[in-house]
Amino acid sequence: MADDVLAGVRIQPNWLDVLRAPFLQHALIGGSLVAIAAGLLGYFVITRQNAFAAHALAHIGFPGATGAILIGVPVTVGLAVFCVGGGLLIALFGRRVGDREIATGTILALATALGVLFASLASANASTTTSVLFGNLLAITRAQLVVYGLFTLVVVLVLAAIARPLVFASVDPAVAEARGVPVRVLGVAFVVLLALTITMAVQVVGTLLLFALVVTPAATALRLTARPGLVAAIAVGVALLSVWVGLVLSAVVDLPPSFFIVAVAVLLWLVARMSTGPRRGTTARALPNGDHAHSHGAVPIGS
């Protein structure tokens, strides 16, 4: 039995040729563009506690993709419209984290229902739906690459412009707001960037596996350092490595790249996690802040 299963997994003798094929070159470029954008945004997704929203946005893209097939426009357009629109709705309804969870979940359910409806109206075949859910990096076209290039450029440029205020607003919103940082405007700008990135990432790893590119590389980086700039750099590196190694492995054994990309990303996270040990609170307990001598004055004892 095991032999039958493993029969599907074998090394392609011509894998070096496969690596040189145009579709794989496209996949490599497209995947790299997504890795850059996703790696850069990951730190903010984590610090803004937006992981659920990021996950949901990917699913909100689902009716966008099937709807695009229904009316005959490019899937990227449908995805982008729904992701950006859904992101703005979430930003609008969910100002507080608690509200956001509920708003996100509700919009998510509606979007998934629409996705199923559109898919059945468009009589989209199972493989189209599968490619939205799990990604189809090997089917990326030249035209899509141009769009990806533009999206990534927008993400990089906007992020460069708003990086500091966005970090401030993400890690310390109360003080940032008091300091005059436009916290809400930055929140909306961030959601739009995230939506553009997710639009791309959905086509690489699919809605169901998107976490592995948007959240996991940044989580890996955060195990190693807490400096925002360094986290972004390491996260981009981890995401790129995952895409590259994943693509090569998929070419070697001729299986879908999504699995390998996600597997590499998760493996790197596990390694970082185990090599840095448990984090929270350990040092605080070991080193109470005992750098102060006893103080003077009249402070009454207890109440």
Binding site: T47, V171, R179, G180, R279, A284, N289, V299, P300
Partner: protein
């Protein structure tokens, strides 16, 4: 004692939030250099007062003056310490980053932190005694250490007015004591005005000069000695409070035990 404009002037101010009047008829003046305890039961509008002063919440009526001008967002003359950070965010940021962001976090575009800004951050961290752990993640720090980082954030820009929202919550007695001492020292060396929201006045009594108390929907202001009275505190908190005078100073304490059967 100095000729600076008052830190806070309220002239018949009322504040409405979500259709509900939080407090009204606020008329008071807090002199520059005062150390003010802001007290009152939960929901009385203590944090709301800070938000008004920070320009984050417009008043429904009346006139507000902070450090001689109208309240405005982003007033760098005010240092603000909100309540604690969540653990999830504390994993992703170091104390030094938080203090640096207070100086540079409002700027758009890619710009390096200057040597002068770094020096200011170092000075603030050293002043609060946090230099030794400023490069550790916030989540790794104890409550007292986190509070010192937060105070460093508030003073890094040489603020003249410090607003601290429950700085002693979740601190053990020794840390409460040390944070209070630090606040007293900062006030003295900078002649800053300090306003502190607190539920428990006891640890703050050594440094407080005044109190703003929110009672029955109105803010009041008195020297601290007139606030530490059994009748007023009992009314304020809605539970019996006794005042015990000791050689070291006043101590007020919840005194429900008086009614308990023995």
């Amino acid at each position: 004692m100095n000729h600076a404009p008052p830190a806070l002037v309220l002239d018949d101010v009322s504040v409405v939030r979500g259709g509900r009047t939080v407090w009204s008829e606020g008329t008071l003046t807090v002199a520059a250099g005062a150390v003010v305890g802001v007290i009152g039961p939960n929901g009385a509008g203590k944090t709301t007062l800070f938000q008004v002063m920070l320009g984050l919440l417009p008043v429904a009526s009346g006139r507000v003056e902070v450090l001689g001008g109208a309240p405005r967002r982003g007033n760098r003359r005010i240092g603000y310490v909100p309540q604690n950070y969540t653990a999830a965010i504390g994993e992703a940021v170091r104390g030094r980053d938080l203090v640096t962001l207070c100086l540079t976090g409002g700027r758009f575009g890619l710009r390096r932190t200057t040597a002068e800004q770094r020096a200011r951050v170092d000075r603030a961290l050293e002043r609060v005694g946090a230099a030794g752990y400023a490069d550790r993640r916030m989540a790794e720090l104890s409550g007292g250490q986190q509070q010192r980082i937060a105070i460093a954030q508030a003073i890094v820009d040489d603020a003249e007015l410090l607003l601290l929202d429950e700085p002693l919550a979740n601190l053990d007695l020794r840390n409460q004591h040390e944070v209070v001492r630090l606040l007293g020292e900062l006030r003295a060396e900078r002649n800053a005005t300090v306003m502190i929201v607190a539920h428990d006045l006891n640890p703050l009594l050594p440094v407080l000069t005044d109190a703003v108390y929110l009672l029955d929907g109105h803010p009041h202001h008195d020297p601290i000695g007139e606030v530490v009275q059994e009748g007023l505190l009992t009314h304020l908190y809605g539970t019996p409070v006794g005042v015990v005078r000791t050689a070291q100073g006043d101590l007020f304490t919840r005194a429900a035990w008086r009614d308990a059967p023995r």
